[in-house]
Symmetry: C2
DNA sequence: CAGGATCCCGCTAGATACTG
DNA sequence: CAGTATCTAGCGGGATCCTG
């Protein structure tokens, strides 16, 4: 009898793997940009433009280029579906990572604005290339998907 | 009294937003590549190389370039921490999207191999650019993070 | 060998209420 | 205005058992 059961060994392997992945830069980045709201916040702060009433126009990434400072409440309006909790939480982590700056202006009541840093801007341009891949190849993916479904139906 | 309470209005907004996001190509792509195992499978299939005993070397994306056909059990070994359920499930969706091909050879017992399609290969190269951004800028992010933590401690 | 089916648990996002 | 604190439910993912 081994000192570990097979189940324990697998659990151990998983733990090791998780620890390994936790230290992987690519994975950390992936975890960050795939966050439900990060991409939207980046898009909102990274792309200027008028405030459309709806969210039409390719996921909010449209509008003239150019970084932009926005107030908390302004972001909350643009990202119509976000809860304050997630908005605040996401902005905090982005600030912590040096992707956005948080500026408090001691008016009454307080005014807080967020703006992309250069690093955040750089990430935003990476996101643009991701977006481009998506727009170029996604129709193909969708077609494959449909064909697969009818074939296996 | 309005026909909807404020809570209902927000819930509605969220529903609309979710529906909107569901149709967004960029978001779909993000959801796909950020899947815990997709990146690893892509890396395993996309980069050839010897089978290192560990996973050292930048998250398994190393090795000479060149697509590669791998068996199910081979993948399971390379991705040491994956459960059969997730491996199978992930491979299925990748196949459905036309990113990998699944080939069954009716030996006894059956042999199943997976290989990247051209589309999958294209996605793999997008992943490489993501990886490059990560390796270039992640140290900066980490530094910002640490500085933030000590500053707010 | 490669996978299907089932149960179950942890984590996280969301709702709600309160504050400087 | 711009948050913080707390509670809870839903769901993704893992473990386990079973099949062609």
């Amino acid at each position: 009898m081994p000192t570990m059961t097979a189940a324990q060994q697998r659990a151990q392997a998983r733990a090791d793997y998780d620890a390994f992945l936790a230290g992987c830069p690519s994975r950390q980045l992936l975890a960050r940009i795939s966050d439900k709201w990060v991409a939207l916040i980046l898009a909102a702060l990274g792309s200027d433009g008028p405030h459309p009433s709806g969210q039409e126009g390719a996921c909010g990434q449209e509008g003239a280029a150019g970084p932009r400072a926005m107030r908390y409440s302004e972001l909350a309006r643009r990202l119509a579906g976000v809860s304050q909790k997630m908005l605040t939480q996401t902005l905090r982590t982005l600030e912590r990572d040096g992707l956005v700056t948080r500026t408090v202006t001691p008016t009454v009541p307080v005014t807080v604005t967020y703006e992309l840093t250069e690093l955040g801007l750089s990430l935003h341009s990476l996101m643009r290339s991701v977006k481009e891949w998506a727009e170029t190849h996604m129709s193909e993916v969708l077609a494959n998907r449909e064909e697969y479904d009818t074939r296996t139906a």
